[in-house]
Amino acid sequence: MRIFFATDIHGSEVCWRKFLNAAAFHRADVLIMGGDMTGKAMVPIVADGSSWQVTLQDRGHVLSAEAELTAMEKRIRDRGYYPVRTTHDEVTAWAADEAAVDARFKAEILGSVQRWMALADERLAGKGVRCIVSPANDDMFEVDPIIAAAEHVELGEANAIAVDGISIASTGWCNPTPWRTFRELEEPPLGERIDALVAAIPDPRRAIFNFHAPPHGSNLDAAPQLDADMKYVAGGQALVPVGSRAVRAAIETYGPLLSLHGHIHEGRGAVKIGRTLAVNPGSSYEDGVLQAALIDIDARKAEVKRYLLVNG
């Protein structure tokens, strides 16, 4: 069984398209998206008479033809942002009305996830590929039912999905971050959540953990230290472990054959924790590069045969 695992694409449309094509490209049997699939930013494209104005990465653009507009929207989406056609008045109103911004963000995020699931259904139909998508801490809860409703995508969160006799158990919940995002828990309740999930698995040693938070102190969780004002300490040179102790304890206790993680984009790597291969492919979604892990599993022996971290 070959698994293609990617994570933290944060709204990058080109990365999602590559993810869906990865099954054919790398001859993978199972696609797993580890979460944080929704974007963080919204870019207004403002109507100005017969043209449109947009600023992307500090660079202003005036667009007149629909083809230009469409190309710009694609460029924005590929970077992981949401392009929004709007008016000066609306943008001015948003600047003073956080609720209006929230509402529009929500609409864009959910609309995007719906489009992505439709694309997945279209591309994966008849391919015999299992596709598991597990939202994570940056993904609002409303995306879960959209994923669950997709015909060729299985919702990972809180589920243990059996593939070739191997159980793939997923959760996108993480230990607390400085940003207080959607799915965060203190370590003890996070541990309880994981224990409850694993309890449903017949044999944890024949399991794959797909837990968004990396294990603490594994080097897969080395992130730039932040000060109290949310600024990088020492220009980002000071790296500190920010992973989950509960996740580490679960790996050490249950000894799954493989443990898949994300969350820390800088934490690309693969390490052994006991018998378990723990992997974080990292993320470079802004570059349009899909970082991922390609893992061959011997399902009969419940072993990792080989793995490779790829940059597609």
Partner: protein
């Protein structure tokens, strides 16, 4: 032009996933942000400056490896050479800042070269590089012109093949520059520790046996082992703690430098001469040390006495630039950019940090030379340096007048007639060493991790202990460091390979400069998605201008190093060429062997960089 900011708070369901924030342009908000992991409020350009400034280390590298050799080019103008080197490195900073902003997080020559130098560019770079390395090795081994050309051609073919394999050129150039050669830097760091810290303190404390011991091979080896232990310990402790040490070292070092500058500014040449004569007699039993130093260097080292012309541009000025690069090549050393790159402001901050570190070091370097000429006297300054360098590197058997190097902070401290205060000044200057030395093995371990994650090295190379210590990676740099330190201490030929340490890193930077130059045309999607895309001069992308000028500068400097006997590491030095060939050949063999070994395991390393079609 505004930088995006974000704020926490607000709320929209769930566990407090607040939304809001954004940036503004004159026309209104350009972008709205929601609260999400990884978005930080700011990135300090000052931090980038500190790291660049410590890397372009005026005291540890500049004072000895660049300023102490000016006497070898009597018609060269040191100040003009420093300024020209600064200008040249400015272009390199532009190229690197562009790569960093275009490919953040990736953060390193290995990833940049691997991503950009594939296909034809990879083959060309690999071919040229393979030819030059093999051809030089053939010449060094006296194979004759025809045979050397044949060996060079074989090297070119091998280079083309490796260049066509994805990741090949990137691995060879980066592993040599960020891993292999750093083993040679361990004894260089040890040597610096010896001449700038241990021996001055030993002399001031009256520990003459200590001074003598550290002038032996055993002493040199011991100093290297101290550095290896220190840097290993710092990696084991983690960068978070060391970052605080670096910041503290920065301020202490600057304070110490200010004290030295004030002493030099207030002291006259006569008062310094009297002070030096006093201390040479008191510490080393040498009478009339000042004039004796000059006489010794003229008689035994062939020094041509001269004065410093601040505005001069002598015929040999350009030949000083390769020496200056030993100090000034590294403003990009600690350059990273974590987090989300949102706009050109990020590029400017990275660039400004690097340029700040570079040009403050340049200005301080020029100021130091002017003060040295004023207070020490330029004749004495060059004499004491040439005498010591010639003896330390085995070019003469005549010892210098005093048995330690004329470490400028120590010389300036002589103006105060108190050994205690002199020791305090030397100790404070140790901050320049402490704030700089910790990154020696850190860079290597990061490269080793990258190679392990790309399956070129065994999985164990990427392992960390429960406390996060990468012991295997540390061993992979420590063991060769100890071996090269031993060679450095006990083999006179090997000491003369010192400049190779910079040459190999310059070759790595050259590879990244090529990548920066071709990026807009070879990887247009990547380039156009980066904040660099808005910067062009006469329609030519700024990153390409920076890259191309850097290619020319580094290409010329490398040519000089390899062809001009002045530098001692080129074609006249068989050991140096063989050493370089072993280094690059070893990296190439490691890559090829890993490729075939992984293939036997069913792992195709080509898949690492194979781009998945989006449509």
């Amino acid at each position: 032009m505004a930088t995006m900011t974000d704020r926490s708070g607000g709320g929209m369901g769930g566990a407090g996933g607040g939304m809001g924030g954004g940036s503004r342009t004159p026309a209104g908000p350009a972008l709205f942000l929601r609260n999400a992991t990884g978005l930080v409020k700011g990135w300090s350009g000052f931090d980038a400056f500190v790291y660049a400034f410590l890397a372009v280390n005026l005291v540890t590298l500049g004072m000895f490896y660049s300023f102490a050799v000016t006497g070898y080019v009597p018609d060269g103008s040191p100040i003009a050479a420093i300024v020209l080197s600064g200008v040249a490195m400015t272009f390199m900073c532009v190229a690197y800042a562009g790569l960093i902003a275009g490919m953040p997080r990736a953060g390193g020559d290995y990833v940049w070269q691997t991503r950009v130098l594939d296909g034809i560019p990879g083959a060309v770079v690999g071919g040229v590089f393979g030819f030059v390395t093999a051809w030089l090795a053939g010449g060094a081994l006296a194979l004759g012109d025809t045979m050397s050309l044949a060996v060079g051609a074989a090297g070119a073919v091998a280079g083309v093949i490796i260049g066509l394999w994805r990741g090949g050129v990137g691995f060879v150039l980066s592993s040599t520059g960020w891993w292999f050669i750093l083993a040679l830097w361990a004894p260089i760091y040890g040597f610096i520790l010896k001449i700038e810290f241990i021996q001055p303190l030993a002399a001031l404390a009256g520990w003459t046996d200590g001074v003598d011991f550290f002038n032996t091979g055993n002493g040199t080896f011991a100093a290297s082992l101290i550095v290896i232990a220190l840097t290993t310990g710092l990696v084991a402790l983690g960068m978070a703690g060391y970052a605080r040490i670096q910041r503290l070292s920065f301020w202490i070092g600057l304070g110490a430098l200010a004290v030295m500058f004030v002493l030099m500014l207030l002291g006259s040449q006569d008062s310094f001469r009297a002070a030096f004569d006093r201390e040479a007699s008191s510490l080393f039993g040498v009478a009339g040390g000042y004039q004796a130093t000059i006489d010794n260097s003229v008689a035994n080292d062939g020094l041509a006495l001269r004065s410093l012309d601040p505005l001069g541009f002598g015929g040999g000025t350009l030949l000083l630039i390769p020496f200056m690069l030993f100090w000034i090549l590294y403003p990009n050393w600690g350059a990273t950019l974590y987090g989300e790159v949102r706009g050109s402001g990020d590029f400017r901050r990275v660039l400004n940090g690097m340029l700040g570190g570079l040009w403050v070091a340049v200005i301080l370097g020029v100021a130091f030379l002017l003060l040295a000429a004023k207070t020490f006297g330029w004749e004495f300054f060059e004499a004491t340096n040439v005498s010591y360098v010639n003896y330390a590197y085995g070019y003469t058997t005549t010892p210098p007048t005093i048995p330690i190097w004329g470490y400028p902070p120590l010389l300036a401290a002589f103006l105060i007639d108190s050994h205690i205060i002199q020791m305090v000044i030397v100790v404070l200057f140790g901050a320049w060493f402490l704030g700089w030395t910790g990154t020696l093995f850190l860079s290597s371990t990061r490269m080793i991790f990258a190679a392990a994650f790309d399956r070129i090295l065994p999985e164990s190379a990427g392992r960390v202990s429960d406390r996060g210590v990468p012991w295997v990676a540390l061993l992979l740099i420590m063991v060769p460091s100890v071996i090269l330190s031993w060679l450095y201490a006990y083999n006179a030929d090997f000491v003369r390979l010192t400049l190779d340490a910079t040459l190999v890193i310059a070759v790595t930077f050259l590879g990244s400069a090529v990548a920066a130059t071709i990026l807009p045309w070879w990887k247009p999607a990547l380039y156009n998605a980066s904040p660099m895309a808005r910067y062009a001069i006469a329609g030519i992308p700024l990153i390409s201008i920076g890259g191309a000028v850097t290619v020319v500068v580094l290409g010329w400097v490398i040519y000089q190093w390899l062809s001009n006997a002045l530098y001692g590491i080129g074609v006249g030095n068989t050991s140096s060429i063989v050493f370089l060939a072993v280094l690059y050949g070893g990296a190439a063999i490691l890559f090829v062997a890993a490729r075939f070994f992984r293939r036997s395991q069913g792992v195709d390393l080509d898949a690492i960089h194979a781009e998945i079609p989006a449509e």
